[in-house]
């Protein structure tokens, strides 16, 4: 309805292949960025940053990672929690082991270390597909949880078994540790996540993204036209793990501060991230963000409504939440397996040809 695309013709391939080829979408993006960078910090409270915005960004990043593997490359993973744990532990070990290291570098290295671990667990994809692979990733989840729990070196031998992020600064502003301001942490997360999301978008719209989707859509045909299935899948595993690892590192350093690894990144986290991409949209960058916002906000809303307004007991409300999410997953898989992002895309197509029906 609001689209006025006529006259926006493209005279070069770079314009034609732009991420937002339609001017109106560009404006929407600008508005979104203004809100995220100006309105949110201006109006946000400590609670808002800590309970909503920061986890949304971090889970969006993790979901971006899982989406690369599952949504784009078609390899189902149930080990996201485990890989986030790798990122968190790597971040912890790097900051404590090399106190002088730049925090941004720490995050990136944590991602790279996780990518390496992901690569390792991706090796079975050479021989196995589908459910078999999903089960293999579960193995990663359990093994990694156990490893970080049992091997005290990963916790720097602290008796409690928890890992705590020491304070770090970026450009002279504290972003981790007890003294870091929530807004600063939020802004740092925002910039970092947006840059990584942009890189992910670039990947999936280019040759590498096409190779992943080719494998996803028809792996045999992909091989017959020259893609190497094993390399392609391993690439997806490691890139995906990189994103998940960075998300894990950020969860420890910028959000939680101090965690017991095996608990904070258990199998439920794996499911949570999987739900984000199902609800948000398999194979959609935007879906990762929308889904994350949905998954983080929905329990808060539900709890407020059921406990606050309806006077339910908290534990019963928790059970309802389970049913709600489970039902929602089934609903989306039945109605629109490509999630909110696809619904949005359909709405957008409708708006573009409005008032015509087709």
């Amino acid at each position: 309805m609001l689209y006025r695309e006529s006259g926006q013709f493209k005279t070069s391939y770079s314009a034609d292949q732009a991420i937002f080829p339609i001017r109106q979408d560009n404006w929407a993006m600008v508005v979104f960025l203004l809100v995220a960078f100006i309105a949110v910090p201006y109006f946000g409270t400590e609670y808002f940053f800590q309970a909503i915005m920061i986890p949304v960004l971090i889970f969006a990043l993790a979901a971006t990672g899982l989406n690369i593997l599952t949504g784009y490359c078609g390899q189902l993973s149930l080990g996201t929690g485990g890989f986030m744990a790798v990122g968190a532990v790597a971040c912890y070990k790097l900051t404590t082991g090399f106190p002088e290291m730049n925090f941004v570098l720490v995050l990136l290295l944590s991602g790279i270390i996780t990518a390496g671990v992901g690569l390792l667990f991706g090796i079975p994809s050479l021989r196995i597909k589908g459910f078999y692979l999903a089960v293999a990733t579960l193995a990663a989840q359990f093994f990694l949880s156990w490893l970080f729990n049992k091997v005290a070196w990963f916790q720097n031998y602290t008796p409690s078994g928890t890992i705590t992020m020491p304070p770090r600064e970026v450009f002279g502003i504290a972003v981790t540790g007890a003294n870091a301001d929530a807004m600063d942490r939020y802004l740092f997360c925002l910039v970092f996540v947006l840059i990584l999301a942009m890189a992910a978008k670039n990947l999936v719209r280019g040759p590498i993204g096409r190779s992943w989707m080719a494998i996803r859509d028809m792996d045999i045909a992909a091989e017959l036209i020259g893609f190497r299935p094993f390399q392609t899948k391993l690439m997806a595993f490691s890139v995906s793990s990189f994103y998940v690892g960075v998300a894990g590192a950020m969860a420890l350093s910028l959000w939680l501060g101090s965690v017991e690894t095996a608990e904070a990144f258990d199998i439920n986290v794996s499911f949570q991230v999987l739900f984000i991409i199902i609800i948000g949209g398999l194979g959609s960058m935007m879906g990762s963000f929308v889904g994350a916002a949905f998954i983080i906000l929905m329990p808060i809303v539900l709890t407020n409504v059921m406990v606050g307004a309806l006077g339910m007991q908290a534990v019963t409300a928790k059970h309802f939440e389970f049913m709600f999410f489970g039902g929602l997953i089934i609903f989306f898989l039945i109605v629109e397996p490509h999630g909110i992002a696809r619904l949005w895309q359909i709405a957008k197509e409708k708006l573009r040809i409005w008032p015509f029906p087709h």
């Binding site: 080719a214 036209i225 893609f227």
Partner: protein, 266 residues
């Protein structure tokens, strides 16, 4: 057609004494033939004759138990499909095997994967995109656009292939194969399930590909009319064995072929 009696070109591919079995089932039995450079070679035969298996052997998807394949005069050892693709063999499939989540343009772009500069599309470059990767993308987009124009599918350039009618999907699949600039193009029933008009279009495209790019083509087809019109030479398989080989006219007159098609007991 493109082939004349005076100058017989060398064979681009020779199939020598190939035998292929799945467990106890023999799909192909001791079959030999060759495909000459620049010709359109048809492989025909009744259902279950082993035609598709033959294509699968040629592009390395199946590994024959016996016999060998010479590609450009070199004996080909056990080869993975993607290596065959790298060697210049492209193909289409009996049941369209497009990447249904992608647009026509992206599907054909996948056919360029082996032609891209590995360094320009490496992980870090691709993450940054602007720069080498974009340049590479545009370079190959130009090539792909030529194919789109050649196949007259401009109007569906950005349509997800899942939404296209069958005939157009087949055309897109041909486009994807052409994008690899193959020396040898294998077409598995390119006209199956098409209406008359679509068949005529497809015939025209196949002949044009052969004429314009000099691509050698091996095709499997059921429509005899099409085979007789298109091909320079025909090899006939029946129950995994070669029963005839020659020009369309010769094959048409061959008693074995007539029997096989009429279902006479052997």
């Amino acid at each position: 057609m493109a082939l004349s009696e005076q100058s017989i070109p060398e064979a681009i591919l020779s199939v020598e004494n190939i035998t292929l079995s799945f467990g106890a089932v023999r799909a192909i039995r001791d079959v030999s033939f060759d495909i000459k450079k620049g010709e359109i070679r048809a492989i025909i035969g009744p259902n279950g004759a082993g035609k598709t298996s033959m294509l699968n052997v040629i592009n390395g998807f199946y590994h024959p138990q016996q016999g060998q394949i010479l590609f450009r005069g070199m004996v080909r050892k056990r080869m993975r499909p993607h290596e065959a693709a790298g060697g210049g063999i492209a193909r289409t499939f009996q049941n369209v095997a497009l990447f249904k989540g992608m647009s026509t343009l992206d599907n054909i772009m996948t056919g360029r994967n082996l032609k891209m500069n590995k360094w320009n599309v490496s992980l870090l470059a691709a993450m940054f995109y602007y720069g080498p990767t974009q340049k590479e993308e545009i370079l190959h987009r130009q090539f792909v656009e030529k194919i789109i124009s050649f196949l007259e599918i401009e109007a569906i350039r950005k349509t997800p292939v899942g939404r296209l009618p069958y005939g157009l999907q087949k055309r897109v699949e041909l486009g994807r194969a052409l994008a690899a600039e193959p020396d040898l193009l294998l077409l598995d029933e390119p006209m199956a399930g098409m209406n008359l008009e679509e068949k005529e279009d497809m015939c025209r495209f196949i002949l044009d590909v052969n004429a314009e790019f000099g691509t050698t083509i091996a095709l499997i087809e059921h429509d005899m009319g099409v085979v007789m019109d298109l091909s320079d030479r025909v090899v006939v398989l029946d129950h995994g064995e070669k029963i005839a080989d020659g020009t369309p006219a010769e094959v048409k007159a061959n008693q074995n072929v007539i029997d096989a098609y009429l279902g006479v007991a052997h």
